[in-house]
């Protein structure tokens, strides 16, 4: 069993590049060059330098003593929340902006749901002096005003996606349409481990710095590279892909994925794609996605704007189908409670996405000696209004 993408762009049954012919030259250019570009010494040097000096990597691997005592196991938090721009998203945008430069592109487009990927993209475009256009659902623009302001302050143009349900999936459609209309000068920075091949693999590789660091950091602290479990929340699944990557072929490491159950998996308001999805095509890849029996893509729900994507990256569909990953779904309520718990036990206010991963202790009992590494994918500043409303703070 392999968990790497094969030469045709598939993880088992999932992946591929189901794109209109209009996108073929762009995607093909990327497919035939991305590995060579990423392996160039000058690329690696610039990427590593920026991750260190600009993003602030390595991000700490923090032993959460009080959280560990509470749940009677040994919990480490991988602090992606301490990255510049407040989440793991920037690892990927730094990588892709450098790829775009190597390809000679001078215009960047991106999609964003909650605005985190949009901010991370606007940030690297400002850094490189490249034009940036971010598509965002009209409804999300209203819900996420501070991130819209951040993008504008960084010099990006935020274009509302007014089609369909006016949220993340529609913003992604609009970005793809923009790319169809601007095939020569534009690079599309996809924010999650989704989309046509090679995007899921490229994004995963840029995010794999997370598990690369976990390995040597854990070796320093515990004398061994491999934890017993790695835990991450999954929307499209980029932080999860990066957290798992270097452990995929280590059978001793349990892989745990936490999806957003919203108001309950079967409430009709949920984003638990592995539980509710069926195999299909979304945004250029074959994967599990939430849809009607007739094949129309449905709108998911989660209190966390970063997890309400109707699909999941093809790697994760493969991990689910093969049983390599254990999948859990956590409700809004349990996630919010876990977020408050971390705040008061460790002095860290997590993003609500990450709070879903932290709620794993309700569903899974670990042994006292287990080493459990949880990806703290983002910080909670952006979610303060949601926390205020929920807890009546």
């Amino acid at each position: 069993m392999t968990y790497q993408v094969n030469e045709k762009g598939y993880y088992g049954d999932f992946g591929g590049a189901y794109i209109p012919e209009m996108l073929y030259p762009n995607v093909e250019e990327l497919r035939t060059t991305y590995l060579d570009i990423m392996n160039e010494p000058s690329f690696k040097e610039e990427f590593d330098q920026l991750l260190k000096d600009y993003v602030g990597r390595p991000s700490p691997l923090y032993y959460a003593k009080r959280l560990s005592e509470k749940h009677n196991t040994r919990v480490y938090l991988k602090r992606e929340d301490l990255n510049h721009t407040g989440a793991h998203k920037v690892n990927n945008t730094i990588g892709q902006i450098l790829v775009a430069k190597k390809l000679g592109k001078n215009r960047i487009i991106a999609e964003t749901g909650a605005g985190q990927h949009g901010v991370a993209t606007a940030t690297v475009c400002a850094l490189m002096g490249i034009q940036c256009i971010v598509y965002m659902g009209e409804i999300d623009i209203k819900r996420q005003a501070p991130n819209v302001a951040r993008m504008k302050m960084l010099g990006a143009e935020v274009r509302p996606a007014k089609s369909g349900s006016k949220t993340l999936k529609d913003a992604t459609n609009e970005a793809i349409r923009d790319w169809i209309n601007n095939p020569v000068d534009t690079h599309y920075i996809i924010g999650s481990a989704i989309g046509p091949h090679p995007y899921p693999d490229m994004v995963t590789r840029f995010q794999s710095i997370i598990s690369e660091e976990i390995k040597w950091q854990l070796k320093e602290k515990e004398g061994r590279e491999n934890p017993d479990y790695v835990v991450a929340c999954i929307g499209g699944g980029s932080n999860a892909a990066g957290t798992y990557y270097h452990f995929l072929d280590e059978p001793s490491v349990g892989i745990i994925a936490v999806e957003a159950a919203g108001k309950g998996v079967h409430s009709g308001e949920s984003a638990a794609t592995s539980q509710l999805g069926k195999e299909g095509i979304i945004h250029g890849c074959k994967t599990l996605l939430m849809q009607t029996p007739d094949g129309q893509i449905t709108e998911p729900y989660s209190i966390s704007a970063g997890l309400d994507y109707p699909g999941v990256g093809p790697l994760h569909s493969h991990l689910y189908k093969t049983g390599r990953g254990e999948f859990y779904s956590v409700t809004d309520d349990d996630a919010m409670t876990a977020g408050l718990e971390l705040s008061q036990l460790e002095g860290i206010i997590p993003a609500i996405e990450s709070s879903h991963a932290l709620a794993i202790f309700n569903d899974k009992k670990f042994n006292p000696n287990d080493i459990v590494v949880i990806s703290l994918s983002g910080r909670g500043d952006k979610d303060l209004n949601t926390y205020i409303d929920y807890f009546k703070l």
Partner: protein, 253 residues
């Protein structure tokens, strides 16, 4: 012989019309098809609506959203079309995105198309490679012609490859864009049309995207076999309803 191939063998420039099934009203599908044939249209593309039509511009997107709101489904479309061959003789093609077809089951979908008398399929997000490896056999078993797109960005080598896989016509997307009407074609399009002509492909080409009136129809068909109009026709039925379809067609040629 497939109706598409028969039509392509006729000595004339072909006019093909795209419309979204179940639009403007759910049960307009059959009337639109009949009126198009009666108005002298050569071929029809029946759009199977999809929630996320990423190759389409605003006009076709909006018609798809409206058709889905009207309650259109794959089953309802097949039901509406079940007796269509009693009244309509011109080639009928279903154009849609791959996911709804996958959910229906590709083999079942193709079998149903054959049963009804559908002659071909256009599926923008089913790439040539995937088609050849996984689906070609099934499509051919049910006598369906699969039509592939090329664009101004498609390399000569790839156009020749697509030509070798095609057995009907090649859908020539006029410009680097999503679907939508244009008033005229510029030099870039003319050069593209000439480049394709010089390749002497075995399959005839029909131009789509951006054709809206007599001028663009004439420009597009100067070096090709025909042209497809979608967005401009949908705008017409949005504004005028489905009782004046002949007026629109008269304005094209």
């Amino acid at each position: 012989m497939n109706r598409i191939n028969q039509k392509l063998a006729e000595d004339k420039k072909l006019l093909s019309i795209y419309f979204t099934a179940g639009y403007p009203s759910l049960n307009d599908t059959v009337k639109v098809i009949q009126d198009l044939e009666n108005s002298g249209v050569d071929m029809i593309e029946i759009g199977l609506p999809f929630s996320d039509p990423l190759a389409d511009g605003p006009t076709i997107q909006e018609s798809s959203t409206a058709a889905l709101k009207n309650g259109m489904t794959t089953n309802i479309l097949f039901d509406q079309l079940k007796d269509i061959r009693q009244s309509v003789n011109i080639p009928l093609i279903i154009m849609g995105y791959f996911n709804p077809m996958m959910q229906y089951g590709i083999e079942a979908f193709c079998a149903k198309c054959q049963e009804i008398g559908i002659d071909g399929l256009i599926i923008p997000d089913l790439p040539v490679a995937e088609y050849r490896e996984q689906y070609q056999e099934t499509f051919e078993k049910y006598g369906l012609i699969n039509v592939f797109l090329i664009t101004p960005q498609t390399s000569d080598d790839r156009i020749r490859f697509i030509d070798s896989v095609s057995n009907g016509f090649i859908y020539m997307v006029s410009s680097a864009s999503t679907t939508g009407a244009k008033n005229t074609f510029g030099d870039v399009q003319q050069h593209y049309f000439e480049r394709i002509e010089s390749l002497h492909l075995k399959n005839p080409q029909i131009v789509g995207f951006g054709i809206s009136n007599n001028e663009t129809f004439i420009q597009a068909t100067k070096t090709t076999k025909g042209a497809i109009i979608g967005s401009a026709f949908i705008k017409h039925i949005t504004n005028n309803g489905v009782d004046r379809i002949g007026d629109f067609i008269k304005g094209i040629r």
